[in-house]
């Protein structure tokens, strides 16, 4: 085979491999998040397994112990979540309360009169954009006739609010064609959604379970591995690239390990801070814990932790009827402002204390790169892309920088 033919074959094989890899990634994108979660947990737990190994516990047993621990914690979490889940009537009451609070707040902020047609200056400026949004939320929250009958039969304390909601909806329905559609379809869409959800729940749960089964497998495999993966990878490298590849792999391992462990600690610290601050301003501990966990989990995607804390806190502020703050100055009227201040304070602590100390210099990315990466990841792979954007950018950055450095040092470029 001539040199030119050899080069052509190499190019064809390379391009075909790249296309195949892209096709596989796209086809298996549903597995990306479970695989990522399993991998991240394994990375976090590697020092723990090493510690257990030092105590003469075999690596496989140590990995199994950690898996059992995670499974137990997960099961306990699910059980407590199920216990905390509202009953059917309680769920209806939450929707009634939320709708009541929403319409009341919207009406107050917009200065709307009884006919909902005249408002303040802000209303005239923004109502064309805000009304469809409010209508969409109303679509979700409004009760169907069946649900209303169910609520009446339960002799709920919120019947008065539900009547006020129905009245407000009727006024809105008379005011805009969109409102008519909203009221007319609310029942049908909710009913059909409930029915289809009930019908689809079994297969959907099966799909989720079959997809997520890969997470513990990857977790176990990565923790059990004592170097075979790395050796296998390096065995494919030509001899002249062996030492540079060893050095580059070590750099990537260091960077990824620092990032994963750093972000895990930062998420835990941020979740705990939000929990404490929200509890101080009067959010019940049960809800503060839920918002804290939600915030911590969302913080894996940059800037999302702040958004999650703000949304969670404000959602509670919207629904809360009374608050019991541990500090003065927080009243039901100023509660939303207190939530904003608490979340801003948590974000400030994260940026000033946690990021420099916990995350250190493991990720030094320009904010523009972070934003573009997240949007690009979300566009290509949805939530999985958002989740993986920063670790991927980090790995690519280290891969390029380290490869260039080591290949130059070895005189290969």
């Amino acid at each position: 085979m001539t040199t030119r033919t050899g080069v052509a074959v190499t190019w064809v094989v390379g391009v075909a491999s790249a296309i195949l890899t892209a096709w596989l990634l796209w086809g298996l994108r549903g597995l990306i998040v479970p695989a990522f979660v399993g991998g991240v947990l394994a990375y976090i737990c590697r020092p723990l397994v090493a510690r257990l190994e030092r105590r003469r516990i075999p690596r496989g047993v140590a990995a199994g112990l950690l898996l059992v621990t995670f499974a137990s914690v997960g099961l306990a979490g699910l059980t407590s979540l199920r216990a905390a889940m509202p009953t059917e009537i309680e769920a209806l009451e939450v929707r009634v309360r939320a709708l009541h609070a929403l319409t009341r707040t919207y009406r107050t902020v917009m200065g709307l009169d009884a006919s909902w047609t005249r408002g303040n200056r802000f209303y005239w400026l923004a109502h064309r954009d805000l009304d469809p949004l409010v209508d969409r939320v109303v679509d979700v929250l409004a009760l169907t006739p069946d649900e209303r009958a169910q609520l009446v039969a339960s002799r709920s304390k919120l019947l008065e609010q539900e009547r006020a909601n129905a009245q407000a909806l009727a006024i809105r329905a008379g005011r805009t064609p969109r409102g008519e559609v909203a009221v007319r379809t609310a029942g049908a869409s909710s009913t059909s959604a409930t029915t289809s959800a009930a019908q689809d729940s079994a297969p959907a749960l099966g799909d989720i379970l079959s997809t997520w089964i890969i997470a513990p497998l990857i977790f176990l495999f990565l923790l059990w591995d004592s170097g075979d993966l790395k050796r296998g990878l390096l065995s494919m490298v030509p001899n002249r690239l062996f030492e540079p590849a060893l050095a580059v792999l070590a750099d990537i391992d260091d960077a990824l390990g620092d990032y994963v462990r750093g972000i895990f600690l930062e998420c835990c610290a941020l979740g705990l801070t939000v929990l404490v601050l929200l509890a101080i301003i009067g959010v019940p501990v049960r809800w503060a814990v839920a918002i804290g966990i939600f915030t911590g989990a969302s913080n894996v995607v940059p800037y999302m932790g702040f958004a999650a804390a703000l949304l969670g806190g404000l959602a509670y502020a919207l629904l809360a009827e009374e608050v019991h703050p541990l500090i003065p100055l927080v009243t039901p009227e100023t509660f939303a402002i207190a939530v904003i201040v608490a979340v801003a304070l948590a974000e400030l602590v994260k940026n000033v204390v946690y990021e420099p100390i916990v995350l250190g210099g493991s990720v030094k990315l320009h904010p523009l790169v972070v934003v573009v990466g997240i949007i690009g990841g979300a566009t290509l792979f949805g939530p999985a892309g958002m989740l993986l954007a920063i670790p991927t950018i980090t790995v690519v950055k280290v891969l390029v920088a380290s490869s260039a450095r080591h290949l130059t040092a070895y005189g290969l470029i």
Binding site: D228, R231, F242, L246, L249, A250, A409, Y410
Partner: protein, 199 residues
């Protein structure tokens, strides 16, 4: 050959016989690649082979099994370069099969063959401890060669996972490097004495 400087793995010293300086070069070369202890010749399996490497002389079988899981097996063809002079190193190598040749470029560009190494010789120990030194010699395969490589990153991981084992290896590494330094000094002093015509 002086019994004190004999070691397994040093197959042949191949320095040019120049009047006065050849012995000095030979002594230097032997000092740098000498294994402090003589080991048995049984190489039936990787674990057994690792047990014969002086670097792992204090390591028990269970830890040898662990080491066998982290070392990288590399195969080299005849004449293939293993290490290049002037380049950094990130791994130490152990000769498992075959013979490797250590060469050094002279000022004029011509290569001088220093020594031949055979199993279970090791080289580039300073790279494994992250000494960040550039190599002053090149090594290439003489015939088909099997090597085992232990990277600095592998040793770092060993320090986290099995500090006791890593300590044994590091102490041994330090011992080997110290012994080589001592022998190099001895060789230097002996050469100076010889050149000056003193006993």
């Amino acid at each position: 050959m002086n019994a004190k400087l004999a070691f397994s793995g040093l197959k042949e010293i191949r320095l040019p016989r120049r009047a006065g300086s050849a012995t000095t070069f030979a002594r230097r070369a032997r000092s740098l690649f000498q294994q402090p202890e003589t080991l048995a010749a049984d190489r039936a399996s990787l674990v057994e082979f690792l047990g014969q490497v002086s670097l792992f002389a204090d390591v028990d079988r269970r830890d040898l099994v662990r080491l066998a899981r982290i070392v990288h097996a590399r195969e080299y063809a005849d004449g293939e370069s293993i290490c290049e002079e002037g380049r950094p190193g990130v791994a130490l190598f152990i000769v498992r099969r075959g013979v490797v040749e250590v060469v050094r470029c002279a000022a004029g560009g011509e290569e001088t063959s220093l020594v031949l190494l055979e199993p279970p010789a090791s080289f580039e120990e300073s790279a494994a401890v992250g000494a960040a030194m550039t190599r002053w010699f090149s090594i290439r395969a003489r015939g088909p060669v099997s090597l085992l490589a232990l990277g600095k990153s592998d040793l770092d991981a060993l320090m986290v996972g099995s500090p006791a084992l890593a300590n044994k290896v590091l102490i041994r590494l330090a011992g080997i490097m110290a012994a080589r330094l001592q022998m190099l000094l001895d060789a230097e002093l002996a050469a100076e004495f010889n050149l000056e015509g003193r006993p």
